[in-house]
Amino acid sequence: MVALLACLLVAPLHAAPAYALLGREAPDFALHALVGGNVRLSEHRGDVVVVTFWGSRCSTCRAPLAALDALFATYQSAGLVAVGVGVDDNANASREFAQSVRVRFPMLMDPDKGVARDWQVDTLPMTVFIDRSGKVRAVTRDVGKNAEAVYRSEIRPLLDE
C-alpha cells in the first residue's frame, strides 16, 4: 500500500510532460543570428531540423549544445539542420554565450520570447525535433549527460524516413 502511494506520488514528477505541438506543424519563425546567418524555419522544409532553446544563465545548456554540434557535424551532409535559439532579454549576454560555446550551427536570438511562446518552451534546455515534412516529432527536456545518445536516437530515424 505504501509502495503504491509512493509510486503515485513520485511517478508524475519523473514523467515527461506532454508537448502540445507534437505531431503538428512546427510554427514558422525568422530570427536574427548571433552566430551564423539569419534563419527562417520554412526555408528548411525537406530537412530534418533540430531546434534547441537555451539561455545564457542556464548552466545545463552547454552540454546539450556540444552534443548537438557533434551530431550536426556528422549528419549535416545527410540533411540535418540544427539551430540554437537564445531566449535572453540581454543581447550582449546572449552574444557572449553563443560565441563561447563555439558550435557550427546558427545561434539565434529571441529577445522578446515570441518564438519561445509559440513553441511552448517550459524549461531550458529544451530540444525539438522536426521531420522533413515540417512536423514536430519529438521533444526532449534536460537530458543531462546522455544528450548525444538521446539526440542520436531521435535524429537517426528521422533522417532515414
Binding site: L22, G23, A30, G37, N38, R40, A138
Partner: protein, 229 residues
C-alpha cells in the same frame, strides 16, 4: 514574427493551404484504402516525447491466395487510378490559382491597391538584414532576410514586400534598411539608412520599388524608391 504582411495575407495563405489540403486528402482517401484506418495513438516515452512515425505501407504476403489471384489485374487498375489522381491534383492546383487571383482582386481592388517591391543590384557595399516599411508613419512591414533570400535578391529576384490598400490622395512611404557594410569582412559595420517618397494615389493600382544599388564612385550603397507610374 518579423514578417508582418498583415492578416489578409496570412488568411490568403491559410485558405490556399486548406483548399489544397482538403482536395489532396480526398485524393489520398480515394487512392489508398489503407488511409481509412485510424492513425496510431500518440505515445509518451520519457525522456523524449515522441510523435508516432508515419505508418509503413502494408506489405504483400506470399501466403494470401486472394492477393495472388488479383495480381494480374492490379497494374492497369493502379495506372488508371494514378492518372485520375494526377488529374485531380492538377485541377486542385488550377482551382487554387484561380481562387488566389480572385481573392487578391477582392481584397486589394485596383482603385485602392498599393504594392511595394524590393530589388537589389550588385550589393558589394551592403549586406541586407532587415527592411522596415512605414506608410503615413504607420509600420506596415518589417522583414528579416536570411542569407538565401538576400542571395536570391542579388541574383535579380524582386520581392513583393507589401500589398495593401490606400485611399486616393497624398501619402508618404518611408523605408529603413539595416544591414552590414561598407567594409571588408570583419570590418563590416552595422549600417542603417532610410529613404522616403511622397506619392499621389490615383485611380488604378500603385506600384513602388525600393532599389538598393552600389554607388561605385563613392563606394557606398544607394537606396532609392522608384514610382512605376
Amino acid at each position: 514574427m518579423p514578417n508582418i504582411d498583415g492578416t489578409r495575407v496570412a488568411h490568403t495563405s491559410w485558405v490556399r493551404r486548406w483548399s489544397v489540403a482538403f482536395a489532396l486528402s480526398g485524393a489520398a482517401l480515394l487512392a489508398t484504402p489503407a488511409a481509412w484506418s485510424e492513425p496510431p495513438a500518440e505515445g509518451v516515452a520519457p525522456p523524449a516525447v515522441t510523435a508516432p512515425a508515419p505508418a509503413p505501407a502494408p506489405q504483400p504476403t506470399a501466403s494470401a491466395p486472394a492477393a495472388a489471384t488479383d495480381a494480374p489485374a492490379a497494374p492497369s487498375d493502379t495506372r488508371g487510378l494514378d492518372s485520375e489522381v494526377q488529374d485531380l491534383k492538377k485541377d486542385v492546383v488550377d482551382l487554387n490559382k484561380d481562387l488566389f487571383v480572385l481573392e487578391e482582386e477582392l481584397l486589394f481592388p485596383a482603385n485602392t491597391q498599393v504594392a511595394v517591391f524590393l530589388s537589389m543590384d550588385v550589393g558589394s557595399f551592403f549586406a541586407l538584414d532587415t527592411v522596415q516599411l512605414k506608410v503615413d508613419n504607420k509600420e506596415v512591414a518589417n522583414y528579416l532576410y536570411t542569407p538565401r533570400e538576400a542571395e536570391a535578391l542579388l541574383k535579380g529576384g524582386v520581392q513583393r514586400l507589401y500589398l495593401g490598400n490606400l485611399k486616393l490622395g497624398q501619402h508618404e512611404l518611408v523605408a529603413f534598411f539595416s544591414g552590414k557594410g561598407p567594409g571588408n569582412g570583419e570590418n563590416d559595420r552595422d549600417y542603417t539608412r532610410g529613404a522616403s517618397v511622397k506619392f499621389e494615389k490615383t485611380v488604378g493600382a500603385k506600384y513602388l520599388e525600393l532599389k538598393i544599388t552600389d554607388r561605385q564612385r563613392k563606394a557606398q550603397p544607394e537606396f532609392e524608391i522608384k514610382d512605376w507610374d
